[in-house]
Each structure stands twice: as structure tokens, then as C-alpha cells.
Amino acid sequence: MELRINQKTVQVDADADTPLLWVLRDDLGMTGTKYGCGLAQCGACSVLVDGNVVRSCVTPVAGVVGRDITTIEAIESDEVGKRVVATWVELQVAQCGYCQSGQVMAATALLKHNPAPSDAQIEAAMVNLCRCGTYNAIHAAVHELAGKRDA
């Protein structure tokens, strides 16, 4: 089947119900998107599909044929994504880093839809798990990207 990933068209040979995550990681060698739970619980596998954040570990690949998929590998090609990454680095968000691809994707999706989210909207959108406990740094980064001084 044919997928459109990061503005490029790629051919993959996978069963229709294979999760997009494993097509990305094993078929295409794009390992920036992470496996954490396989149950849409943690969000480490977050990618954008037509600009919406999606948990690729439970997204059958057949369901994203003909749609625009963006992964962390191309996040800096997106103007908002580039700002998110720059802020993530500036505020030193990452610790082990394993969940951060997904966090960056979630933040990018939020800010593309809503450049100035309220605190409640940030809280509703930034729900991915982080075992290192970078939640306050994530909140501060999104807050800053939303054009606010952090409280």
C-alpha cells in the first residue's frame, strides 16, 4: 500500500491491521516514534495524521492510506514543530527522552489547532505519560509557546 509520510510517498507491504507504529519502526526504519505500551495508554507513539495527534500503536495502517502522516523525524520541517523543538531544548524538558517524541508531537498538534491555548486546554491536550516526571517542564514549555509567561 501507499502511504504519505512527511511529505513523501512510500510503498509498504504490510497487513491492513498492522499498527502504523510498527510500519514506521520496522518497515521504514523510522525509530523516532516510540513503543511504550501498545494500548494507547502512554502516548510515546504519537504522530500527526492530517494534523491531528494520533496514537500510532493502535492505528491500523490501512486507516491512514491517503492521509498526511507527520512523524517526529520531520517535525522541524513544520514551522510550529520547529518552535516546539526549540522551546523544548531551551527549557531543557527532556530527561531520559523516551516519551519526548510523543510529547513534542502532542504539543505541536495542540498549537497548530490553537496557537494560544488556555491552561485548561493545555491540560486537556498534554496527557502523555512521562515516568521521569518532566510534567512541569512540559507545561512550562507549552505555556511559553502559547505566548504566556509561566505562572
Binding site: 497487513d15 498492522t18 499498527p19 510498527w22 519502526r25 520496522d26 518497515d27 526504519g29 525509530t31 523516532g32 516514534t33 516510540k34 513503543y35 511504550g36 505500551c37 501498545g38 494500548l39 495508554q41 502512554c42 510515546a44 512523524t71 517526529i72 523525524e73 517535525i75 522541524e76 523543538v85 523544548w88 531544548v89 531543557q92 524538558v93 527532556a94 530527561q95 531520559c96 527522552g97 523516551y98 516519551c99 519526548q100 517524541s101 513534542v104 491540560e123 498534554m126 496527557v127 502523555n128 505519560l129 512521562c130 515516568r131 521521569c132 516526571g133 518532566t134 510534567y135 512541569n136 517542564a137 512540559i138 507545561h139
Partner: protein, 751 residues
């Protein structure tokens, strides 16, 4: 995988398809590809280390400079780090420490985990592990000296090149200067010659005066921040070598059970993508060209699991094991107990006291729940050597274990230590809790490299658990209501004795730490352990024994305060009146929080709130925490955590603050929501759906004050955790009158 010379250590995509046999000279010529291939944690340091060892005038720790450092023509410094990076920032800290004395900007460092080997044993205690919050505090002078030795070698090489004496030279970051002539040479230009020079006598180098530090003590940016924000950082689970098969396993539902017949083996073999089906000790495996196929197929296997034999080589999980029943059993244990501390006359004080308080506490099992599921990649090479990539906190121990399991000489085993996607104690050597023995067996069986990933479900089945204890406290007050005696008898199995499988001659210090070692001036005290060997496999979990014991002790101390009519903050000040360091720390946290107030009080938003205080002394560091809580929809809501931490002195204040935040999050997680419940010999949760870890919405604001007392350097990664739970529990008691004697709080009902 694309390679580019611009990538940093973590983004240096390994070209693992190419056989690796590059000479040092080729590296030093600095071709992009050569530099890059070398950039990925190859054991290149080893041959140079041996050469350096042969030439070295001393066998002192951390003096084999070429084993640690390569300086590239572009002035980038490659450091082979004795410690593993798993989020705690040790790669950045080591770049700061070495860079400070080398006179090279930490931002120019490429840091990788060093291979196993004696050269990398740099800690005072002669160990090489990444744990116990030891990395910086136990290697600080040695790693500084390493940088200074390398700088001396560069100066010597510069003197030769410029035809002047070393005394006429100085350095600026990344270069050697000859002030008199205005000439300079970059480190990159001098490195090849410098690294061939003999390492100077370690006592001959002078370390910088701390007042002159450029980087130590400053909030230097993490060297891995960009790669970790863009998906470029590579973890074990991401690695790939040519011709590699993917593997997935299904473990026996209870440890110790063995593989019987596979009822549908032929059907599974016929499933799409399946290469082969394998029987392993206590598990079955499927190999496939894609991990998804392997996982789906292995989960489809119907195994007739057999009950363990009497000669089971692993700890057997009984079919009737229940964690809740086990807590009751622990609380009822009568002994015999062994004393760790016994001062004054506890028995008489308790017997004669007018006011006595008894209370029983227990805690819960926990999983590590690091976000990266365990994996291992094994490859047998044509020459009979074995390469293994695996997450680990102790490379030498792992290599020795692999040698034991395979019969290979350690020299035939190359161990790679990728970045850790979180660890928290998960990646110590635990029998039956790591995928590498399986990956090695499978690679051997099929003659191809194999990468095995444990699914989240398999991980939660085989992860080692944070230990549990039931502690029976008895306390006595004097006539003025001050604590006169405290006795804590803990029925427990510590992680170290659990791993050993038996009680040692001495008490396991990781069983009682946090009950023992308290600084409060209580004249009569007894801390003792009743050793109870349990059926669950146990391990180290961030802050280890302190993670439970400080909850017990600091909560019970508040019970003593309440009974004696004392404010818990004043009680601590009173009991620490002769301890200037801890008095300062306690006052610092109060000041940070705007002055101590217990409450209950009404906050600006109208909610009723209260505060609790607690202290801990883990891993050479002192901490004090104040928590502010309310009850929201029947749940405990933690609004703020103020933490004052005194690790003596620090290397990176920004990383310290991040570690406090992270430790607070894990501390809140175990306090509020987290528990590994076992029923009928099985974990109730096999994924995050039934094993809640702290979600962003339950995080508290965290306020940090670092107090640098100048005392001996303590740890940072774990110490900010233990005081969180008791501070919250003490706040809850102040607010609700409910004394919480077991965790998590989600088990309790709040009005």
C-alpha cells in the same frame, strides 16, 4: 540509516551493517564516516586502554587518558563515560567535570557509555555501576583529574610543536596558547600527538580553584536535549543490524513454571511472517522478520504450562500468592528480629512511659514502569565472538553473567550500553528479569542476529518489584510530650538479600535505610528487621529502602508529635537542635514555602488545605519537604511541593532542579495512585491501563532550594524522592484527621 558528521553522540546512527575494524589512525584522520562509525560506542577505547595501561606509570583509577578521551580534528571531544545515561544527566555532568579541567566547553563533548573494563572503574568504592546516586559524588575528583591529565598532555604536545617550554603555555577552551608570541594551536591539532604521550604522574597535575570554574556549578545545557526532542536519540529498542530477526516472547504466567506442549505450534508456524518457534526456560518465543508478526504469533501460542519442580532454578511464584494477604502476614510476623540500631533502654522506656503509641504501617509493591520496554540485541560474529546490546546499569556484571551463561571468554564478548529510556533501578542484573539471555539463545539457535523486545505485558509480568515491609512501631513520650523512645520492627526482605536469595551475615542495609540512620535526638531507639523471604522477585527502585521507610518513620514521627501536642515542624526543630546542618535545611524549606503553617486553612480558591513536613537523609544528601494538599472529588490533591536539598555541593543546578522534579513525580506516584497488586500468583495489571502511574494532571508545582553546605558531596538522582510521601501523608492527616498508614492513597476514602 544516514550518517553525517554533524550528528552528536546520541544521534550517531550506528552503521552496524559494516564490520568494525578501524584503526585509530583512520579515526584521527577524521573522515566523516570513520569518525561516525567510531562515534557509536564501539570498544575502541579498549585497545588504547590496554596500551595506555602498559605505558602508565601508575595504576590509579581514571588515569588511562586515551581510554576515555579522543579529541577530533574539529575539536570535538569524545568521552567514554563510565556511567549510563538514563535521564539523570550524568553524560552532561561528566562533560562539565572533565571539560572544566581539560579546558574544553562541555557543549563540544560527544559522550557515550564506555565498554566494560577495569579502566573505567573510577568510583571511590571500586565499583562500576550507575546507581545509588553515586556517579558524580563517587568519581568527582578522579574525573576532574582525568581532565587535568589530558590537558597536561595537550600542553606537552603544544610545547613540542611550538618549541617552547610548557611553563610558557596556557589554555583557553579548546586550545593551547603561547602568550609571548600570540601563537595558538587547537586541541584538535594537538590531540594525535598528545594521546601518544605518556600519561603524567597523577600527583603532578593541579586542579582548578573552584572560584575559577567556568562550567562546574553552572546550569550548563544538557548535551542530549536536542536529540531527545527530535526523536534522534537511539535506545536499545531502536537498534538494528544487518540480517537481524525480531523476537517476541510469552512467559509462563507464574515464575518457575516450565514449558509443556504447544497445542497449536504448527498453526503458529504457518502464521504470516513467522520464521520459527522456540522453547526457552519458562517462555516460548517466535522469531519473525517484523516484531509485530513475532508478537502476534507468540501471543497466539497455546502452551500447557507445567507446575514448577522442586528443583526449580528460579524463585517460584505460588498459585495462591496475594499481595494484600501478604501484607497482613508481614504485619503479624513475630520474629526473630535482628537489631540494626539499639540505643538507650528502649524496653524500659516503653514499659514505664506514661504515654505510649503503637502503630503498624505497610507499603505496596511497585513496578519500575520505565517507558522503554526492555530489549536486547545479540549477534554472534564469524570469529566466534558475541556482541550484545542491552540496557544496563552495570556493564561488567552483565558481561560476566553472559560469559557464565555462554561459556565464552569475557574478551570474546562485546557489550554495548545504549541510552536508557528510563531506569529507576530496572536495569541492574536480575536473574529472570532481562531479555538478553533469551536473545542470545535465540541468536545462537538460528545463526542470525536477534533483537528481542519484551512487550509491555511481558515486562509487567517479569519486572522485579519494589520491596514491601510491614513495620510495627512503638513510641513513648516524656512528661513534656517529647519523644522519649521509638522502636521500629520491620518485617521485610531487602532487595539485596532478595537478589542473593538469602539473608546475609550482616543486615541488608537496603532493607532498613530510612528507618535507620535518622538524625533525631531520641535517647532510646531500636530499629530491627524480621527477615521474611517472600515469593516475589524484588529489585532496586529509585531511592530503594528509603522509598518506603521514610514514609513509615516520618509519618509515625508526626503521630508522636500529635500525641504530645507538639507542632510537627517544631518537634523536628527540637529533635535537631544540636544539628546545625539539618536545622538550616528545615528552616530553608519553611522559608521557601513562605513560612511554616500547618493549617487547615482556606486557600484563595476557597478550598480547605493543610501542609505537612518530612525529612530524609538518603545517599549522602539531606532533604526536607513541605507538601500542601486538599481533598478534591474524594481524592488527595497535592498542590505544591517545596523541597530544600543539601547535597553538600553540586555540579549542575539546572539538572538538580530537574531531578528534584522527577523524583517528586515518582514520589507522588507511589503516594497517590501506584501499586502492583498480585492475586492468585499473577499481577493484576499487565499494562498502564490497570497500573496507573502519575498522570500530568496530578503533578504538583515543585519549588526547589539547593543548600550547598560544603559537606561531603551526596547524591542527586534518588534523594529528593523519599520525603515526598510522608510530607503528603502528614498534610492529609492535618487536613482530615485521617492517619494514612499504607499507600497508595487511592486505597483510602476521603470525604
Amino acid at each position: 540509516m544516514k550518517v553525517s558528521s554533524e550528528t552528536t553522540a546520541q544521534s550517531s546512527l550506528p552503521d552496524l551493517t559494516t564490520p568494525i575494524n578501524l584503526s585509530r589512525r583512520r579515526f584521527l584522520t577524521g573522515t566523516a564516516v570513520g569518525a561516525l562509525v567510531l562515534g557509536f560506542g564501539l570498544p575502541l577505547g579498549a585497545p588504547r586502554a590496554f596500551a595506555a595501561a602498559a605505558a602508565a606509570t601508575t595504576s590509579e583509577r581514571g588515569t588511562q587518558v586515551p581510554a576515555f578521551l579522543e579529541i577530533r580534528p574539529d575539536n570535538r571531544v569524545r568521552l567514554m563515560c563510565p556511567f549510563m545515561e538514563g535521564g539523570q544527566g550524568t553524560f552532561t555532568a561528566m562533560a562539565q567535570i572533565v571539560g572544566e579541567e581539560l579546558d574544553a566547553d562541555p557543549a563540544t563533548f560527544l559522550v557515550e557509555a564506555a565498554p566494560p573494563g577495569e579502566a573505567y572503574v573510577v568510583m571511590d568504592n571500586g565499583m562500576r555501576i550507575t546507581g545509588g546516586s553515586m556517579s558524580v559524588r563517587m568519581s568527582y575528583p578522579v574525573m576532574r583529574r582525568l581532565g587535568a591529565l589530558a590537558r597536561a598532555m595537550l600542553l606537552q604536545a603544544g610545547a613540542e610543536r611550538l618549541g617552547v617550554s610548557v611553563s610558557e603555555l596556557s589554555t583557553e577552551p579548546g586550545k593551547v596558547l603561547h602568550a609571548a608570541s600570540g601563537r595558538s594551536l587547537t586541541y584538535g591539532e594537538l590531540a594525535e600527538r598528545a594521546m601518544d604521550l605518556p600519561v603524567p604522574d597523577p600527583v603532578s597535575v593541579k586542579l582548578r580553584d573552584p572560584s575559577q570554574f567556568r562550567w562546574i556549578g553552572k546550569p550548563v545545557k544538557r548535551i542530549d536535549a536536542y536529540d531527545k526532542s527530535t526523536g534522534k536519540a537511539l535506545y536499545c529498542i531502536d537498534l538494528k543490524v544487518d540480517d537481524m530477526l525480531h523476537a517476541a516472547v510469552q512467559h509462563a504466567p507464574r515464575l518457575g513454571m516450565t514449558v509443556g506442549s504447544l497445542r497449536n505450534e504448527e498453526q503458529v508456524k504457518a502464521m504470516k511472517g513467522v520464521h520459527s518457534v522456540h522453547r526457552l526456560p519458562g517462555a516460548v518465543a517466535v522469531l519473525a522478520e517484523r516484531w509485530w508478526h513475532a508478537k502476534r504469533a507468540v501471543e497466539a501460542i497455546q502452551v500447557d504450562w507445567q507446575e514448577p519442580g522442586a528443583d526449580s532454578p528460579v524463585r517460584v511464584m505460588p498459585a495462591d500468592f496475594s499481595s494484600d494477604a501478604y501484607f497482613k502476614r508481614l504485619a503479624a510476623e513475630k520474629g526473630p528480629a535482628r537489631d540494626d540500631e539499639n540505643e538507650g533502654d528502649v524496653a524500659a522506656s516503653l514499659a514505664n512511659a506514661k504515654t505510649r503509641i503503637d502503630a503498624t504501617y505497610h507499603n505496596q509493591y511497585l513496578n519500575h514502569a520505565q517507558l522503554e520496554p526492555p530489549s536486547a540485541l545479540a549477534r554472534f560474529n564469524a570469529d566466534g565472538s558475541l556482541e550484545v546490546w542491552l540496557p544496563n546499569q552495570a556493564p561488567d556484571l552483565y558481561r560476566a553473567d553472559i560469559a557464565k551463561r555462554t561459556g565464552l571468554e569475557p574478551g570474546k564478548i562485546t557489550l554495548h550500553s545504549p541510552l536508557l529510556g528510563g531506569f529507576f533501578g530496572r536495569h541492574f542484573l536480575y536473574d529472570s528479569a532481562s531479555p538478553y539471555p533469551q536473545a542470545i539463545a535465540l541468536a545462537k539457535a538460528v545463526g542470525r542476529p536477534v533483537k528481542l523486545i519484551w512487550s509491555r505485558e511481558e515486562e509487567f509480568l517479569r519486572d522485579v518489584l519494589r520491596p514491601v515491609a510491614a513495620v510495627n512501631f512503638r513510641g513513648a513520650l516524656d512528661n513534656d510530650g517529647w519523644p522519649l523512645a521509638i522502636e521500629a520492627v520491620s518485617a521485610t526482605e531487602g532487595p539485596t538479600e532478595a537478589i542473593a536469595g538469602k539473608q546475609g551475615e550482616k543486615l541488608d542495609p537496603t532493607a532498613l535505610e530510612g528507618l535507620s540512620g535518622k538524625s533525631y535526638a531520641i535517647a532510646n531507639k531500636r530499629i530491627a528487621q524480621i527477615y521474611v523471604k517472600g515469593p516475589a522477585m524484588l529489585g532496586y527502585w529509585r531511592s530503594v529502602g528509603n522509598s518506603l521507610n521514610d514514609f513509615f518513620y516520618e509519618s509515625f514521627l508526626d503521630e508522636l508529635a500529635d500525641k504530645g501536642g507538639k507542632d510537627p515542624f517544631d518537634l523536628r526543630l527540637h529533635l535537631l537542635r544540636d544539628n546545625a546542618r539539618l536545622t538550616t535545611l528545615l528552616q530553608a524549606v519553611a522559608e521557601l514555602s513562605g513560612g511554616w503553617k500547618r493549617g487547615p486553612f482556606t486557600a484563595e480558591d476557597g478550598s480547605r488545605r493543610a501542609r505537612g513536613v518530612a525529612m530524609a537523609s538518603p545517599f549522602g544528601t539531606e532533604t526536607a519537604v513541605i507538601a500542601e494538599v486538599s481533598i478534591e472529588n474524594g481524592q488527595v490533591k497535592v498542590h505544591d511541593i517545596w523541597q530544600a536539598i543539601d547535597p553538600g555541593s553540586i555540579v549542575n543546578p539546572a539538572i538538580v532542579e530537574a531531578q528534584v522534579n522527577g523524583a517528586v513525580a515518582l514520589g507522588l506516584s507511589q503516594t497517590l495512585v501506584e501499586e502492583a497488586v498480585w492475586l492468585d500468583g499473577k499481577p493484576r495489571a499487565r499494562n498502564y491501563d490497570l497500573y496507573p502511574i502519575l498522570a500530568p494532571a496530578r503533578m504538583a508545582r515543585v519549588h526547589v532550594r539547593v543548600v550547598e553546605s560544603g559537606e561531603k558531596m551526596g547524591g542527586i538522582g534518588e534523594p529528593p524522592l523519599p520525603a515526598v510521601a510522608p510530607a503528603v501523608a502528614n498534610a492529609v492527616a492535618a487536613l482530615t484527621g485521617q492517619r494514612i498508614r499504607s499507600l497508595p492513597m487511592s486505597r483510602h476514602t476521603f470525604a
